[in-house]
């Protein structure tokens, strides 16, 4: 187990280097660099020279990259070429937004997916089961951005309702929990519906599998109530694959955050990465992809550990 964790942690630097180097080189390939964008369309050579010197864009690529890497190791992630702000200060502001979005999404997805999945597993081939299966395939199919657009539009047209983040900035949870939850509820819900469909299906199949076991029959035979059989005996074993899948979905959810944040105008990391990619703000893209990659690998590692913790029979070689 320890060997396994160490091996996975050793993979982390490889991935960080690979991801940042790939982003860096990719953006070196594009001829128009950030200096062109800063100096405008006429591309005044003097201005360009000055900007390139200021940000060190005139040096050889490996010097630039090595420099960035050294600074990053010391906690200085560079400066946004466009906003001229330190990437770290931007991140301090934006990470909480994305984090809250994702956490709320997972909570809502579990809140919808688990009960419906369980219900559908303990009452197979009933109308409730059919309905839940239809719901899951429906939620799975409607893209989140389309759902978001429909909610915003018809919310406004039919109920005169606009999402509360429009016209008002992000309100941190500690300042005003109620407004904060209002701001995040709908984006999270939109993102969570697709996620809940995955969980619903998985819960159902996993529960069906577990409910066939002998110890469940024993539990019934002892005369336990259904609640006890389902929640205490069956769910505890059925939940393990569900946890794995949540971990695996982190990458997809981060991608979803890019969409939902730009749709709902939330100033999180997802919107930041989209803007930076469009504007070729190389250091920001590098930092953010690194951040995403680390959280993806970290989440998967955490899942593996949790897996072993939940089910002591599992051993990693």
């Amino acid at each position: 187990m320890r060997d396994y964790i160490v091996r996975r942690l050793l993979l982390l630097p490889v991935i960080i280097l690979g991801v940042t180097l790939m982003t860096f080189l990719a953006y070196r390939i594009i001829p128009g660099n950030a200096a062109d964008l800063t100096c405008g369309i006429d591309r005044d050579p003097q201005c360009k020279e000055k900007v390139e010197e200021l940000y060190g864009l005139d040096r050889a690529w490996y010097v630039q990259y090595g420099d960035w890497l050294l600074d990053a190791a010391q906690g200085d992630l560079g400066t946004s070429l466009l906003y001229r702000t330190a990437v770290t200060t931007e991140l301090e502001r934006r990470i909480p937004v994305t984090l809250e979005l994702l956490v709320l999404t997972i909570i809502i997805a579990l809140g919808i997916g688990l009960p419906i999945g369980i219900l559908s597993a303990i009452r197979p081939s009933t109308p409730a089961d059919w309905l839940s299966r239809f719901m899951s395939v429906l939620f799975l199919s409607v893209p989140s951005f389309y759902l978001g657009i429909l909610m915003i539009t018809f919310g406004l047209l039919w109920f005169g309702w606009t999402p509360p983040q429009f016209g008002r900035g992000y309100v941190p949870f500690y300042d005003d929990p109620w407004i904060n939850i209002q701001q995040f509820f709908f984006p999270s819900l939109v993102l969570a519906l697709g996620e809940s469909a995955v969980l619903m299906r998985l819960t159902r199949s996993s529960m069906l599998e577990v409910l066939r076991n002998d110890y469940i029959r024993t539990a019934w035979a002892k005369g336990l109530r259904e609640r006890s059989v389902v929640w205490r005996h069956a769910l505890k074993n059925a939940i393990i694959p569900i946890i794995t899948v949540i971990g695996l979905q982190i990458g997809g959810l981060l991608g979803g955050a890019v969409i939902i944040e730009s749709l709902y105008n939330l100033n999180g990391t997802g919107k930041y990465v989209l803007e930076s990619i469009l504007r070729r703000d190389i250091f920001v893209v590098q930092t953010l992809t690194m951040l995403f990659a680390v959280s993806y690998v970290g989440a998967n590692l955490a899942v593996d550990i949790a897996y072993a913790w939940f089910d002591p029979r599992i051993r990693y070689a």
């Binding site: 199919s141 047209l157 199949s205 979905q249 979803g256 990465v273 995403f292």
Partner: protein, 427 residues
């Protein structure tokens, strides 16, 4: 993969006579209405994608009632100019007009857009206009031909899905969008799955250093969220001056402009290749896993002891065993690729706008603003088509899973297109 293998045992006895395949098929269809619906949706995608516009052997066939790109060419006479106008005029006085704000029309060679109503006396309207830059006609008493008279028309008999703010027929655009989606999906899946399968076989078969290199590469690419990876690749490769793009434009027979009715074909193709890369990464990982167990089989050892080369073993003994897996992966990844295209086009980086892609139609700034004012149809229908197609694929996948293993009913194993996260679950 035939249905007969798949039927659960007790069902087999209920069946009338053996060998009547169509009856079994009807029976299966009856038991899986959602699967039938799915097959219908998928066929619709292929039908629309192929027949949206066909120009082959001199026969021109089209199920699209209007040109999805062109601003609608139907003209209306809107009224007559009351007085002479020249290049500087920003106000026109029109007799008997029915000009709407935001509508545009032609004054001889110049395009003019109505921005504001200045005054209204009897049936003579004076409107403020925005003018193009071309030298202007001096015109007296010219009837104003209104091209965009049908902009933002509600869904009606002649325009089933209405028209958008440029008076393009939304129905035609939606149908045509199927062709873009289908093309991107097929190109992405074919290129991605074939290269991915090849790398997966090589990686799994040789093991050791080759495996390590390929798998670390896969690790790195999988660590990007799919959407971010696609956005980064497309901004880099799709750039006007990028080497890859220039290579594709000059050294391959790919046309830069129009092809099979698709404008900006090269951009569309680059998007497809980028999605293909993401598909390939995933395929490599899955195929490699399968190869690891296949290569332990005795027949591989037997072949090697008979002196077969590595290439022969891979091609003749290992590859045939992963073909089924590869085909299934391809069919599962097709809706994911379609969804990925729509997602990145929605974010404004995929297919450029005049091309009728569903995702791009959803992202159109102007349409989205107008949607909030009640003109919902230019955005609603492309998104609906996209959802319907993905739903269709998912339902086919579910039905197929039920047929092949009734125990897994509704389990979601094996995936299918994934709408929620916007990137697709495997990607």
């Amino acid at each position: 993969m035939a249905q007969e293998v798949a039927l659960p045992l007790q069902l087999e006895e209920e069946l009338p006579e053996r060998g009547r395949r169509w009856r079994r098929l009807a029976h299966t269809a009856h038991r899986h209405p959602l699967g039938v619906f799915g097959v219908f949706c998928v066929s619709l995608l292929f039908f629309c994608g192929i027949f949206a516009q066909v120009d082959i052997f001199g026969v021109s066939l089209s199920i699209v009632p209007y040109d999805p790109l062109a601003i609608n060419r139907e003209t209306d006479v809107l009224g007559t100019l009351a007085a002479e106008v020249d290049a500087e005029d920003k106000q026109l006085t029109v007799v008997g007009s029915s000009l709407e704000l935001g509508s545009s029309f032609d004054l001889e060679t110049e395009r003019i857009t109505v921005t504001r109503l200045v005054s209204e006396i009897g049936d003579t309207h004076t409107v403020a206009v925005a003018r193009g830059s071309s030298p202007t006609a001096h015109a007296e008493g010219v009837p104003l031909k209104h091209e965009a008279a049908l902009a933002l028309a509600e869904p009606s008999f002649s325009h089933p899905f209405g028209t958008d703010h440029l008076a393009r027929d939304v129905f035609s655009r939606t149908i045509f969008g199927a062709r873009i989606s289908l093309l991107i999906g097929l190109v992405a899946v074919l290129t991605g799955v074939s290269t991915g399968a090849m790398l997966g076989v090589i990686s799994g078969y040789f093991g050791k250093i080759i495996d390590t290199i390929i798998q670390r590469g896969v690790d790195i690419l999988l660590a990007f969220p799919a959407v971010v990876l696609l956005l980064a690749i497309i901004t880099v490769v799709g750039d006007e001056d990028s080497a890859v793009r220039r290579f594709l434009a000059s050294s391959t027979p790919l046309p830069d402009r129009d092809f099979v009715g698709i404008p900006n074909f090269l951009d569309v193709f680059i998007v497809a290749l980028a999605i293909g890369l993401a598909v390939g990464v995933f395929t490599t990982r899955v195929v490699r896993g399968a190869v690891l167990s296949i290569k332990e089989n005795v027949y591989v050892d037997a072949a090697r002891s008979m002196g077969a080369s590595d290439a022969r073993i891979m091609w003749r003994h290992i590859f045939p065993n992963v073909v089924a897996l590869v085909v299934i992966l391809g069919s599962v990844l097709l809706p994911v690729a379609i969804l990925a295209e729509a997602t990145i086009s929605f974010l404004g980086i995929g297919v450029p706008l005049p091309t009728p892609s569903w995702g791009a139609d959803l992202s159109d700034e102007k349409s989205r603003t107008l949607m909030l004012e009640g003109y919902w149809w230019p955005v609603f229908f492309p998104g609906f088509a996209l959802s319907l197609i993905v739903l269709g694929f998912n339902m086919v996948g579910d039905a197929f899973r039920d047929l092949s293993d009734p125990r897994l009913r509704g389990s979601g194993l094996g995936g299918g297109g994934r709408g929620g996260g916007g990137g697709g679950s495997p990607l």
